[in-house]
Amino acid sequence: MDIWDLTVRFFSMTDANVRYVVAGSVLLGGIAGAFGTFAFLQRRSLIGDAIAHATLPGVGFAFLILGRKELHWLLLGAAISGWAGALAIDAITRHSRLKLDAALGIVLSAFFGLGIVILTYIQKTGAGAQSGLDKFLFGQAAAIGRQDVIVLAVIGAIMVTVLLSLFAKLKIMTFDAGFAASAGLNTGLLQFVLTTMLVVTVTVGLQAVGVVLMAAILIIPAAAARQWTDNLKIMLVLSALFGMISGVTGAYISFLKPHFPTGPWIVVSASLIFIFSIMFATKRGIVVRLVRQLKNRRKMTEDHVLKVLFKAGMDSRNWRALYPPLHISQLWSFGAAELKRGLKRLVSRGELEKEGGMYRLTENGVSSGARVTRLHRLWEVYLERHLELPPDHLHRDAEEMEHIITPEVEKRLEEMLGHPVLDPHHQEIPYFDKAKS
């Protein structure tokens, strides 16, 4: 079958096995994404990574005891040894002088080493050869069956119920554990719930993501979600959604190429979502910031054109004279292209008129030019009076402020300074445009 046929088969989900794989990876990705958020905000993501590695011996022991591969028993074993790892980290940091990073390194590598030893032993025995336990290292979503989906759905439902009923408490615990304890909240219990959530999250993620890359699915969807919102609830939902998308993508690719492990593909697609979020997120995104910077630069050019034309007409009180672009560019050190685009924008906004290749201010343009000039000079007065700066130190600061002072600040400045008529350089501060409006 070619890729197209496989794709159709995967997304039409007519095949029951495909349905289980998709449902399983959606559940896994969603749970990991949502609950990874708490670890992310508590800065415990790497503890999650250590716990994930610590689950491996549990998987091996469970298989040894059981003698066959049944997912829920293996996951139970994983959860128990994951919890043991979490307790070991806690014990090391509490009772020795070792710091958290050392404790994480020790627990992660010691448990993982032990796990590999057990898995290798199992592989050598007859029954273990086909056990597929090595799939737990990098994940294999294709192995998810009906039974597994049911187990995952039950676990997911329990976790969501706990989350909904304890949301407010878990939030304060994550934000300010000291205050939560001081207010009489049972912080021991809440921390137990959070750690259990972390253990369960990495345990259910094992089959799809695998032990080795678990940290990624705990951190990356949450970090991506954080770029889009300042609201914890929305962040949880987004992070779950990103986890689901990554899970399905991983499952899809390993469906196309069955010998590929799923985990790395889940992580790669989560990373793509993360990169997209960092670039394009509405508030924090890099692209948004660049656009804002560009807008600022444009506004500054426009303000400067209006200001120089206004000042040029100040002496004769005639603001409607026509100026050729060359003349304007000499009034201020504009770049040629920058000025050309700026003039075009000002014409289309109705602040300038174009006549025979020359430009002049419209009435709106005169008002705007007067305002920029006024803000500049008011700020100079403010600096001189309140910061007691000498007159030759004022211009540069005012040059920046004239673009960002809001009408509210303008009003406060005028009132505070008592509507001054002259700036520190004895130039007139124009107010006439205000009388008109």
């Binding site: 905000l41 800065r43 002088r97 009923s165 304890l166 949301f167 407010a168 408490k169 939030k171 304060i172 994550t174 934000f175 300010d176 000291g178 205050f179 939560a180 304890a181 001081s182 207010a183 009489g184 909240l185 049972n186 954080r226 919102t229 300042d230 609201n231 914890l232 962040m235």
Partner: protein, 257 residues
């Protein structure tokens, strides 16, 4: 609430010793605070000021001694005590807004599965208004200035509606105007009969701000009305070298196998 308050002192600390990895950071602390006073706590860095606050709030294991709130153990009196931790103790990039943080002041009164009610939100909004941040209720907390963040913490304590307040450096990193606003607020609380214990760093303003002062350096040096005990001699004892032996011994105990 009145039945909980009897005639006992708001806070009684008896023979308290707190150790960190066996190294004592507070020795044999013993005092009772008077009711309805604004009490400043001063002492050099590492004197154990925050530790004492946390110990009273039950956030640290005690090596010895006990603490009573109006004559009863803290566990049954928690609702009477409000707490303002150091501003740096939390991550202000947490995804939430000012009103939400202040509402957390109400959580101590909720059951395990309870959620803040509409009334809780109103109380929180009132508290924000009292600290002059009503317009910032929906502002993401990372976008608040240091002084505003400090006031959010104060508002959260106000929302707790306590009778005793323990505050860990509420003036740290705030500008002069905010400091003035905060001290006025503390004065109002005092006038309502509340007892306030406030960690403070600026010795110049102790006499102006506080009724009583607690001088602390590993042990309690002095506690009393500012005009009686806030003098050079006691400050020398608090900040000076006389305690070297005590600190040395503390180091030694900490290093014992």
């Amino acid at each position: 609430m009145t039945d909980n308050r009897n005639n006992a002192a708001p806070i009684e600390v008896h023979d308290l010793t707190v150790a960190y990895r066996k190294k004592p950071v507070l020795w044999d602390i013993d005092f009772s605070l008077p009711e309805g006073q604004l009490i400043g706590m001063v002492g050099p860095n590492g004197a154990g000021k925050s530790t004492l606050i946390k110990a009273i709030m039950g956030l640290l294991p005690l090596s010895s001694g006990f603490i009573k709130i109006y004559g009863k153990p803290l566990e049954i009196q928690r609702e009477l005590v409000g707490y303002v931790p150091q501003r740096e103790s939390v991550d202000w990039d947490f995804p939430t807004d000012a009103l939400d943080v202040v509402t957390m002041g109400r959580y101590g009164k909720l059951s395990l599965f309870g959620r803040p009610s509409k009334e809780d939100k109103e109380i929180a909004m009132d508290a924000l208004e009292k600290v002059g941040l009503a317009d910032f209720a929906k502002r993401q907390i990372s976008q608040l200035s240091g002084g505003q963040q400090q006031r959010v913490f104060l508002a959260r304590a106000l929302a707790q509606d306590a009778v005793i307040y323990l505050m860990d450096e509420p003036f740290a990193g705030v500008d002069a105007a905010t400091e003035k606003a905060i001290i006025e607020l503390l004065g109002e609380l005092k006038n309502k009969g509340k007892t306030l214990l406030v960690v403070h760093h600026d010795l110049n303003t102790v006499a102006e701000y506080f009724d009583w002062v607690m001088l602390l350096n590993l042990r309690l040096i002095k506690l009393g009305p500012v005009q009686e005990i806030f003098n050079n001699e006691n400050l020398r004892t608090t900040y000076g070298g006389k305690l070297n032996l005590l600190s040395e011994m503390a180091e030694k105990i900490g290093k014992m196998p």
